[in-house]
Assembly symmetry: C2
Homo-oligomer: 402 residues x 2
Amino acid sequence: MSEFAERMKTMEKSAKIIRNLFGAMNDPNIISFSGGAPAKEALPIDIVREITNDVMRVEKRGVEALQYGNVMGLPDLREVVVRDLLAPKGVQAKADNILITTGGLEGMNLLCQLFINPGDVILVESPTFVHCVEIFEMFQAKCVAVEMDDNGMVPEDLEEKIRKHDPKIVYVIPTFHNPTGKTLSLERRKKIAELGSQYDVIILEDDPYRDIRYSGTDLKPIKAFDQTGHTILANSFSKIFSPGSRLGYVLASDEITAKLFDAKTATNSHTSMLPQVICAEFFKRGYYPAHHKMICDLYRERRDAMIECIDSFFPEGTKRIFPDGGLFTWAELPGGINTTDLLVESTSNPNVKVAYVAGEGFFIEGGGKGNNCMRLSFGGVSPEKIRIGMERLGNLICPMVR
Amino acid sequence: MSEFAERMKTMEKSAKIIRNLFGAMNDPNIISFSGGAPAKEALPIDIVREITNDVMRVEKRGVEALQYGNVMGLPDLREVVVRDLLAPKGVQAKADNILITTGGLEGMNLLCQLFINPGDVILVESPTFVHCVEIFEMFQAKCVAVEMDDNGMVPEDLEEKIRKHDPKIVYVIPTFHNPTGKTLSLERRKKIAELGSQYDVIILEDDPYRDIRYSGTDLKPIKAFDQTGHTILANSFSKIFSPGSRLGYVLASDEITAKLFDAKTATNSHTSMLPQVICAEFFKRGYYPAHHKMICDLYRERRDAMIECIDSFFPEGTKRIFPDGGLFTWAELPGGINTTDLLVESTSNPNVKVAYVAGEGFFIEGGGKGNNCMRLSFGGVSPEKIRIGMERLGNLICPMVR
């Protein structure tokens, strides 16, 4: 058989982690803190039915929803992004600079198409979202880790690594970071935007969780501080509307947007129209504010339950993040516990049956870094089940601490 | 600003052609034979409304439609492909070997991810579908043209070029070919499948028009004659259901399917769920046979009108293809008429205002090949407008013939 391309080899390690992740999500007998999926209660099923029913009665709208559409996306939805999602966050943009993507992740893929030659360096946070690492490795980028502390990516280390590695892209998840739940501070946002301009490097701001905040003060995106077009904002409708709809967007400069048109055309022509039409209507008809409040209330309760459970059931010396939003927290276990080994036990032991994501896979540096950490996702599990699952997990862990 | 990747340069020529094509589609004052879009009358708007309304009343189905889904696609839809679209055409397949893609074209993109290193050769028909050439060039493949005659790709020339260029992929549109409307004969289908096996090269069969046949005898896909897994079948729901839904599929061997999982994950995780749920229901509820008959009747009338008009209004010596299905015919003009120059006149002259696609852009060889040809798309234009537009175009062309 024809040999596979080089890129299929470079992506193999991260692809394996992803395949395992997707596998774990599907066992119905397990209380799963592993997936990143929103709660099913947060899906606007009735609203989608109502909108579709209405829209498809008007022939012109029906044709719009089912016929070929614009490469850049439905004009209505691009306007919604500008008016309802960017302007309130302090980002002034034109609809012409918005590309609607098939889910937020496709933005990362397309930007790699635009910028990455094999061997180019992408700087990523340590730890970072492994799904994006898989994309970067498919493009044969060399990923280099930048230090994080409790305020997110450390600018001093970033600057040093920019000088040393001359990267094409700095990939950063500033708000309720995946996997840690950490948020990049305001000064650092300004500083990172400046570093992009100063060193002529793309800052790729992946910000899918920013709109689900349950406490604390809203922070402007890095993009709001970008004076030169070096910051590109990628975002998603997955957490605020529906992940299965696969809707996301990219905001970029004119020059980059023109190239995104070509890369999108050569990927899948355009994003599916019916979900775009429905999602645009969801905002235009004013459903978003009440829906947003409902899901934030839902997740806040789950976040609080999760944090309470870590504090109650996990061994003394456990470090955890209190996330002001998003779907994850991150726990660092004491006493030499290896979370990769523990996961085998926690998912197979009939008295536990709890899944999470072991921390190791999020660190591109390898060498066992993060092997005492776990990502705990609270979004898709009810507070009651969070308590049951976390108590079981705590009961498994505590006796193991050396 | 960071430099763009090499691939953005190699794709520039075909990207420019595509950008012009998409531009031409949007002028409402022009009778357009240029686009490849289905007729708006062929879109099942009411059925989609009814199905959505029903499905979203059942919570479990609503969640399925809006939550994250399988990378490979909705199981129901993969079953539909196997049972309703492949088995009747003589292709025996398992649902496990089907990947649902975001439109048929995404299949080509993903297969390039799997197989193409920069500089690898892809053999294509002469002429071929320029949109796919854009994809191949984004992957920095070297496209080499293989001769066609009225029975499609010429196997003798194909074999010679396989020996000479050692290609990774042979890209072929066997049925109602884009841009010419030609159909590959049965013997050649068998022969090309054999050549794939014999020379260990991927035969990429792109067959989006095969299900809309208006006359003549159905032919099995190349894939039906593949004994070794070297043929990969890519297809689309765009012509039989809805193009805006961006639904397509790839049928490949186990080994290739496993790699497609990784490439799809790193492109956009999975295809949008709501269109998949609706499309699967469209088949499962038995809407397809009547819908299929309706659209074939619609297009047959338009095809017949178009052919009649070429024969009546175009100058003596014009050669044209009588397509047994699909959306295009292809005309070769006599008397040194340059169709690229003619298009400027035909779209701007207020007495004409007719668009088509100039032939030149479909020939990767360049050198003016095909500059007396035009692709005429009849699918999206009513018979009345076909007659008006073709008479105007004929009146423009006839006096020009030398």
